[in-house]
Amino acid sequence: MNEMDNKWIGKNTIRPDGADKVTGRAEYAADTIMPGMIWGKVLRSPHPHATIKSINTKKAEELDGVFSVATSADCVDFPVDTPVILGIQDIRWMARNVLAKEKVLFHGHPIAAVAARTEEIAEKACELIEVEYNIHPWAIEIDDAIKPNAPILHDFINFDGKPSNIAGTLEHKKGNIEEGFKEADVVIEREFETAAVHQGYLETHACLVSVSPDDRTTIWSSSQGQFMVRAMTSFITGIPQSSIRAIPAEIGGGFGGKTIVYLEPVATILSKKSGRPVKMVMTREEVMRASGPTSGSKSKVKIGAKNNGKITAAQGTFYLQAGAFPGAPIRGAAGCCLAPYDIPNAHTFGYDVVSNRSKVAAYRAPGAPIGAYAVECVLDEVAEALKMCPLEFRLKNAAKEGTKAVHGPTYPVMGYVETLEACLSHPHYKAPLKKLQGRGYASGFWFNAGGESSAQVNITEDGNVVVTTGHPDIGGSRASIANITAELLGIDVNRVSVLIGDTATIGFSNLTGGSRVLFASALVVTESTNQVIDILKDRASKIWNIDKEAIEWENGEARPAGDNAGKFKPLSLVELAEQATPTGGPIGAGHQVNTVGAEGGFATHICDVEVDIELGIARIIRYTAAQDVGKAIHPAYVEGQLQGGVVQGIGWALNEEYIYNKEGKLDNPGFLDYRIPVCSDLPMIDTILVEVPNPQHPQGVRGVGEVPIVPPLSAIANAIYNAIGTRFYSLPMSPPKVLEKISD
């Protein structure tokens, strides 16, 4: 496809979901209601760590208005010693996270649930459930969880031959680091900490589930994967997947946090037991206490370089909180942190640490911001010691096509260097700074993903197009798919309607995560559309009675080509659709495949801050994000992804944190004291879309949604140092922390 001739790809077409959202018509999970519907509520643990001795639900069941009660006894039993892997999750843990079984492992851990005529009755009934606990000491912070004699969360987890809260490790090795550090002229080693942070989606978890007497189950819910909802609900309830239809609602934000279930299996059990449709909606407080967040961390990074600016060795150790069950994103931290660089000798190590916090969920490039924060801050110090510009220093060590990455692969075509060059030539790089203002830089990487995807492209009777895919749209995939389909068919984009199918109407599609969706669905949609074009040519060949090979598809119509050129009047899509029945029937095609060839994404950010040194407040005053986006199919959406990632990174760096009190309970379970940035905290965020197309994709697409949250933490820390000469090794850099360190 010739770049210059693109009519729709690369255009900011109107968002297909826009009108519904701005007029309040969009249906989110909590908007669905059914006749006879009742309400479910969850009883949550008042203790951070305890063994459940008994649960007595009798009084709750007897309360007027109560229809059913659920506990883990109603779930399929998954023995603790047998892994049941689904994607990156283990159903053993998922089941116990949804309804606690042997133990409660964090304050807010669900223990039981009640369905009743009203939410109020359900809440009251929860209070009537009697639970006997054997209370244990708890560990919240990593240090408390890994010290000798720490309270052990899971008896069966061993590390170094002893019961431990270290549930897993991961290692990447390249070359020989001892030799590498010996060669270095400058070696810098630092320790870092980051706080646990929540994804902060506005829409709280919600679902409506209706189970009929023959177990056929319909689930309406907000998630990042209707097939994930179906599978997890099936595992936990024992209802076969073929009997479950999961219908995705419009989603009010997920950022990774909606890649697992909390409510759906519980509502399914409650509905099955009561015979009524059951609706459950979490409060914000429940979301904060018991869903998400991503890991807090402790890490240590050491980097050595020669006076000529070449990095000779790098080492990183990352401890990440998993929350109550194993599964911290150590791969993102240990795997992504050195990915932008060509480093001969490197060793990274990750530890998956369980503690009495809510189980972590994916959050935009899970783990990668944590790893990059430590590495990019140390790089800034090494560059300073070498008296090099931090961007030139990165350029000198940048990974390129053919570089063997520390985490394994040898890179194909990639655009990291281009992001550095774009920053170096951007006016922001040279803009003057005033007193107490500073500039910081950082880069970042995310793997990106492919995976299973299905699509169906159908031509309507009036000659328009309906495309169905299977991934919830959280970042603009519908608009982008419309652009691509319109481009391939050569028709106006407004004639293409893109829908997200449910689990019964479209083939299996892996969840929306890993920045996979446009990469994967564009592949299957392209293949399906090409098949449709083939069918259209076939129909034209029947009408004209010539060879299909002698027909070309151009500008939305079939044209006779070669010897036949000009012999017949071209047939438009509308005309072909009109004659669909006599020429063979409905026109449409689908494709489903495990997509491969997703390539990583790289970004480099420039950040300016101004620090009020009397109050300890750092304000972001200018921000520029450059990223290799492969090909921006819908540039406004791509920019939105970059800006959104930066904003979440700013929150992570400056104010967001899970604060636990002395009783092991989250002390700030709401948006007042869990401080995500508000609009007035933010500058305009410039984006530079570097386009180095992914050669393994028909449109050159690379994932773009996750990389932009990777650099901000360190870009901001480096900018603060540049402004006031103090380095911060602990996030968030909140005003009390900043002022304390400056006053020292």
Binding site: D673, C679, P735
Partner: protein, 290 residues
């Protein structure tokens, strides 16, 4: 929430009567803008069986100006007071404190009376009201009484209101010539946050000399404070460095904060000095303009 009785009286007497007959302590609640009360009901902190809406009582919704001396009804919403142009010219510090409460939407409801009676140590308008020298008029079953704002609170969530008493209005002194007030707060974000420290200053200047000063702090103690030692340090001075420093140290000394999720003790103490100096500067600037 179970069933709640909602009363909407039109006179103070009716309100006081209903309020004083409340069944159990805390079970009957006064509702002004509801921006605190509704949040508290939703979160289960407050579980009233009766709500008395005072927004239909004329006196509580009135703004009057008697020869430069303002009376503001306890239930007047922030946005309404904001439109009263001359009030802001007289008490820009009080108005800027009130304006900081919440957002556009909250402003349409939030009242000075609610902010005061909610008795949060971090309530933004309270230090500004103290610095202004305003008094509050209270009416209860035993009649009417007045109180300076600084005497109103006992501690977090606790006031000196007796059973059945409601706040009727705020009475401001006539603004002195060459006086000015200002309020500043420290929050980690730029909006939608709770004061970690708040500071209000009201000064009167004659021939470059400070002839009157009132300094108040919020969020640094169980209740908002009038810092009399800071006033003493300023009155009679030319706002020279030493006097300002002394007053700022008085602010620091007056602080009796806690370590909590919103800030540490040492942070609050340091910030009280900084905010005092910044608010003073602003108040002086305003005083010099008249």
């Amino acid at each position: 929430m179970s069933e709640v009785k909602f009363i909407s009286p039109e006179t103070i007497e009716q309100a006081v009567d209903a309020y004083s007959k409340s069944s159990k302590e805390g079970k009957t609640k006064i509702l002004a803008g509801g921006t605190d009360l509704l949040v508290q009901i939703r979160s289960g902190i407050s579980q009233p069986d009766t709500i008395i809406d005072i927004k239909n009582i004329k006196e509580l919704k009135e703004i009057s100006n008697d020869n430069g001396s303002y009376t503001i009804g306890a239930a007047v919403a922030g946005a309404v007071l904001d439109e009263e142009e001359d009030f802001g010219n007289n008490w820009p510090g009080v108005l800027e404190a009130l304006r900081l409460i919440g957002s556009e939407q909250i402003q349409g409801r939030a009242s000075l009376g609610g902010n005061l009676c909610n008795a949060s140590p971090a309530g933004d308008s309270v230090p500004a009201l103290i610095a202004s020298g305003a008094t509050v008029k209270i009416q209860g079953p035993e009649g009417e009484r007045k109180m300076p704002i600084e005497s109103f609170h006992v501690g977090p969530g606790k006031t000196n209101l007796k059973n059945g008493e409601i706040v009727v209005n705020f009475q401001f002194p006539k603004k002195q010539r060459n006086s000015g007030d200002a309020y500043l707060r420290m929050i980690p974000r730029t909006e939608m946050d709770i004061a970690v420290v708040g500071c209000a200053v009201n000064v009167t200047i004659e021939n470059d000399k400070c002839v009157d000063a009132r300094v108040a702090l919020g969020a640094v103690a169980p209740k908002a404070l009038l810092v009399e030692d800071a006033s003493k340090a300023l009155i009679g001075s030319n706002f020279e460095k030493e006097a300002v420093e002394k007053a700022s140290l008085a602010c620091e000394a007056a602080c009796n904060p806690i370590d909590d999720k919103r800030g540490t003790i040492s942070y609050r103490k340091k910030v009280s000095k900084v905010l005092f100096k910044r608010a003073l500067e602003k108040a002086i600037e305003r005083a010099k303009k008249g």
